[in-house]
Symmetry: C2
Subunit: 512 residues, 2 copies
C-alpha cells in the first residue's frame, strides 16, 4: 500500500494492549497514540465511534487502521477498523452548480477517479436561476423542498455509482462541496434571502464541516461534508475551488481567472495578493437573450467562421442547428464586425449584410441559418436588440477587467495567464472575443481554457491535506472589491461599447 498516498486519510496505529499497570481507557489510549503519531493536539470523534471502539480494539489486538479527516491540526476520527482489513476509502467531490451538478467519486488511497457523473440540478425544475430559487424559498416549506431535492439527487447518484462499481457506500468517508453561495446555502438549509437583498449578506462565508448523517446523506454515518467557504454573496466556493485547482495562490506571476455566467466573476492575483470582484455581465454570454439563444448543448452553434463571402458554422455534436450559444454569438459578432456588416457601434450595416438582413416585426434581423438547414424548420436569426445586448455584455466584461486591474496599479497586458473557466471558457474562441473587445488583446497563448475548475478543486481537497489547508488561506488571502458603478466606471463602460473600443491602440491585433 502506498504510504504517502494513505497518510492523508488512513493511519495505522499499534498500541500496547492494556494491563493492570497500563489501564488507560480505550478512547484515551487511541487518541493519545494518534496525537503522538500525527504530532497534533486535538482529535474529535463522534459518540458512535466511541461505541464501536472496545470491540474493534480487542478483536484487532489493538492494531487498528484509523480513517481521519483533518486539517489545520484539527482532526476528525471517522472510522476505526482492524489493521488487517484493507477496505478502500472513498471520497466524493461535488461541483454544485446552479444548472448542473458534477459528481466525482474518488478512491482516496489509490488517488484515482472511479467515476464522474454530471446531472441537471433538480432544483432547476422549480426555478431556473439563483434569483428565482431564492424567491421560491419565501414560500412556506420552499427552502426545505429545495434542500430535499438536491440531497435526494445526491443520494440517488451515490446509490447509482456504488451499485455500478460494487462499492459499499459505508466506505465513502467524506464529501467535498464547491458551489456558489446560493447553492451551498440551499444544500445546507440556510435561508438565502439576504444574499440577493442589499447589502447582500450570506448566512456564513467561512468553510464548514457538516455531518452526513445529520443531513440525511447515505454514506458512512460519521462521514464529514466539507463545504467550501465563500467570499461573499456573489463570489462563492466554486471559485475558491477554482483558484485552488489552478494553483494561483502559489504562483509568482500575476494571473487572472474569469468565470462567466449571468455574472462575471473575476479574480486577479498571485501568491502575495489576490483581488476579486463580480459584476453583471448580462445574460447574452450565457444562454443569450435572443429567441434562439441557448446554453451550450447538442445542436447549439458554437463556432462561426467566415469563408470568403459565406459563413461556416459548427454545432455541438454536429447536429442540425437549433440555436446559438455564447461562444457562437461572440464568433458571429467578430465575423460580422470584420466583414464590415457591423459598424464600430455594433449596428448592422444594410449595405454589407445585403440579403442576410431581414425585417421581422419591424426590427432588423441577421439571418444565420435559413429554415431549410435548421433543426427547427425556422430561420435562425439574431436581432439588432440581441446584438446590442451582447455589446453591453462585452463592454461590461472589459470594464470589469480594466477596473480590477487598474485597482492594483497594473494594466491588462501585465497579466501572464488569463484563465477562462466554466462551460463558457470551454467553447469561447479568444480571438473572436478579442476582436469584439470583450477581453484584452494579449498574445493568444496567454489564454487558457480550464474547464470545470470547481470539481478539480473539490477533488484536490479530498486527495491532499496541503490543499485542504490552502482553502481557508485562499479565502483569507482574497480582498473582495465592490464594483461601485461610479462615473469613472460608466466612462470606461461607454468607451468599451465600441468595437473593439474607442481606443483602438488597446487592440493592436484587431484590424479595424
Amino acid at each position: 500500500m502506498n504510504n504517502k498516498n494513505n497518510e492523508n486519510w488512513v493511519q495505522f496505529i499499534s498500541m500496547s494492549p492494556p494491563g493492570l499497570n497500563n489501564n488507560t481507557a480505550d478512547v484515551d489510549r487511541l487518541t493519545g497514540q494518534l496525537k503522538k503519531q500525527l504530532d497534533i493536539h486535538s482529535i474529535e470523534m463522534d459518540r458512535s465511534v466511541m461505541v464501536s471502539l472496545p470491540d474493534v480494539l480487542r478483536k484487532s489486538n489493538f492494531n487498528v487502521r484509523c480513517v481521519l479527516f483533518g486539517y489545520d491540526h484539527r482532526y476528525q476520527l471517522i472510522d476505526v477498523q482492524a489493521s488487517n482489513t484493507c477496505l478502500p476509502v472513498y471520497g466524493l467531490a461535488i461541483d454544485l452548480g446552479t444548472t448542473r451538478v458534477v459528481f466525482r467519486l474518488l478512491d482516496l488511497c489509490k488517488q484515482r477517479t472511479i467515476i464522474e457523473i454530471t446531472i441537471d440540478n433538480p432544483q432547476s425544475n422549480i426555478a431556473p436561476d439563483v434569483l428565482a430559487r431564492i424567491h421560491y424559498t419565501d414560500q412556506p416549506g420552499g427552502l426545505d423542498h429545495l434542500q430535499r431535492l438536491i440531497i435526494d439527487a445526491i443520494n440517488a447518484q451515490i446509490q447509482h455509482m456504488c451499485k455500478k462499481h460494487r462499492i459499499d457506500s459505508n466506505q465513502i468517508m467524506c464529501i467535498s462541496i464547491a458551489g456558489n453561495t446560493c447553492m451551498t446555502h440551499l444544500f445546507s438549509g440556510f435561508p438565502p434571502q439576504a444574499i440577493i437583498r442589499e447589502p447582500y449578506i450570506p448566512v456564513i462565508n467561512r468553510q464548514m464541516l457538516l455531518n452526513a448523517k445529520e443531513l440525511g446523506i447515505h454514506i458512512n454515518p460519521q462521514a464529514r461534508i466539507f463545504v467550501f467557504p465563500n467570499i461573499g454573496s456573489y463570489f462563492g466556493g466554486d471559485l475558491i475551488s477554482g483558484i485552488l485547482a489552478l494553483d494561483m495562490h502559489h504562483q509568482s506571476e500575476t494571473s487572472i481567472m474569469v468565470d462567466v455566467g449571468t455574472n462575471a466573476e473575476v479574480v486577479l492575483g498571485n501568491k502575495d495578493w489576490m483581488i476579486a470582484c463580480a459584476g453583471a455581465a448580462g445574460p447574452a454570454l450565457e444562454s443569450g437573450v435572443s429567441k434562439i439563444g441557448m446554453t451550450a448543448g447538442p445542436g447549439a452553434i458554437e463556432r462561426i467562421k467566415q469563408d470568403n463571402d459565406s459563413f461556416t458554422w459548427q454545432t455541438i455534436d454536429n447536429k442540425k442547428p437549433v440555436g446559438i450559444c455564447g461562444s457562437g454569438f461572440i464568433d458571429l459578432a467578430a465575423v460580422l464586425f470584420q466583414s464590415h456588416m457591423l459598424d464600430i457601434r455594433g449596428k448592422l450595416v444594410p449595405n454589407q449584410c445585403k440579403d442576410r438582413l431581414l425585417n421581422i416585426d419591424d426590427m432588423m434581423h441577421f439571418l444565420i441559418v435559413p429554415a431549410e438547414n435548421s433543426a427547427t424548420g425556422r430561420d435562425l436569426t439574431i436581432s439588432q436588440v440581441d446584438i446590442d445586448s451582447l455589446i453591453r455584455s462585452k463592454a461590461a466584461m472589459y470594464t470589469i477587467l480594466t477596473t480590477i486591474t487598474q485597482s492594483v496599479g497594473m494594466v491588462l497586458t501585465d497579466i501572464s495567464t488569463f484563465y477562462v473557466a466554466g462551460t463558457f471558457g470551454a467553447y469561447i474562441d479568444p480571438s473572436s472575443a478579442i476582436t469584439i473587445g470583450m477581453i484584452p488583446d494579449l498574445p493568444r497563448n496567454r489564454y487558457k481554457s480550464v474547464g470545470n475548475t470547481s470539481i478539480e478543486g473539490a477533488s484536490r481537497v479530498l486527495l491532499s491535506r496541503r490543499d485542504i489547508e490552502s482553502v481557508s488561506q485562499i479565502q483569507k488571502h482574497i480582498t473582495y472589491m465592490e464594483l461601485n458603478v461610479n462615473q469613472e466606471f460608466m466612462n470606461r463602460f461607454s468607451a468599451a461599447k465600441f468595437l473593439p473600443h474607442t481606443d483602438t491602440t488597446l487592440f493592436p491585433s484587431v484590424r479595424t
Copy 2:
C-alpha cells in the same frame, strides 16, 4: 439582571448592522464579536443555530442574547435570541447513581434551585448492581435497553418538573451528569464489559460533551450534556464531582474523602497533590449481607445505643423496625464490643449475651428486636456470620485508609478533615466506627458528613465557569493507586480484623 451571574451562560451582543461596506456574513459577524468580547479564539455552533440566525439577527436589529456553554476557551453557542427576550435559562444537574438518581433543576441566571427530585434508577428492576447490569449488556439488545430505561426516566422527570413549574423545556440548555463509570457508560451507550474484566478498562475516562438531541433527551435540541470524567473503572465522575463540591483541590491542608458502597472509594490530598484508590469494603456496610440487612430507608434501624443493660434503637422515619442498615450495624457492633458481648476477635460471648443469644439453624444469633416489636412480626437477629462479614469490611476499610495514607508518607492523624460522603456518610456515627476500628481515631470534629457531594458538584459546573474548568484539572491532578493485595496489605488487614485493632495505641479514645 445580574451581569456577574449571567456571563457564564448569557452574553449580550450588539453588532453594527451590515452595509455595502460592511458585508461580513451573519455567522462570521456574530462569532467575530463574541470572540472579541469573550477574548477567546474559537466558538462552535450546530448547523441548526446557523439556520435560525438570519431571522433572529434581523428581527433584533443585530442585538442578541447568546446562550453559551463554554470552558477551557472552547465555547459552544447553544441558542441566539433577540436581546429584549428575557427568557430564563435552565440547567439540569444529575447524580446518576446505581440505586438512585437525583435531579436538580437550576435557574442558571438567578443561580438558584427550582426543584430537586430523587428517583430509583429504573435499571435496578433489570439488575440491582453494577455487576449484574454489566452482565445484562452481554445479551443482545441489553445495552440499548438499559440506556433506553435511564433516558426515558430522565425525559419523564424533565417533563414532570417542567409541567410542575411551568417551564418550557426548550429553555433547558445544559445537563451535567456525575455518575460512576458504569452508570455513565450505560447512559452514553458505551459497552461496559471491559470495566469489570481484568485489566478493568473503561471506554473513555476523559470528560465528554454530548448532544441532547442525539441522545433523545427532550430539552433544547442544541443543549449540551456534560459528562464528568472518570479516573478509572472503579473511580468515577461522581467522586470527581465530590472533590469539586468539597473544594479539596483548592485546600492547603490535606483532607480525605471516603465514599462507601459495595466499594470503598477514597481520595486523599490537597491543592498540590491527590491520590485515589478504591477497594472492596464488602457489602456489610451498604445493605448488609444478613437476612435483615437493608439500605437506609423507612424502618431501617439506623442508630443503636446502650442504656444500662438494655439497648435503645432508632429507625428511619420512626417506623417499626424492618431491618438494619449499615450505620445501625456499626453502632450495634460498637455497643456489643463495649459491653463485652463481642470479644476482640469479634466473636459473640455467650456469658455476656445471655438470653439475647439464640441458636438458629445451628448458628449463634444475637437478638436485636424481638418479634413483638418488629414490623415483620419476626425476631430481628444478626448472626455470627453477619458479624464476621462486618469485621472483614471494617478491616478492609481501615487497611485501605492506612495504605493510601502511608503511600504518601503520612499517618492517619495528619488528616485535617475526614469527609464521609454518600448515604452511608449521612447516617454513620463516627464514634461507633472508631470504636470498632473502622476509621482512624481522630478528634470527632475532624469528621464531616457531607451528604450527596455528587449532585453538588454537578450543580456547580452549571453555575460557574471556574468550576467546570476545574473538572479536567482535578482529573489530571489525581494519581490513581492500584491496591495490589500483597503480603504487606494482608498483614495490615489481619491486624485490622481485631476490635479495634491489634495495636490499641492507634485507638487511644477506645476503652478496651
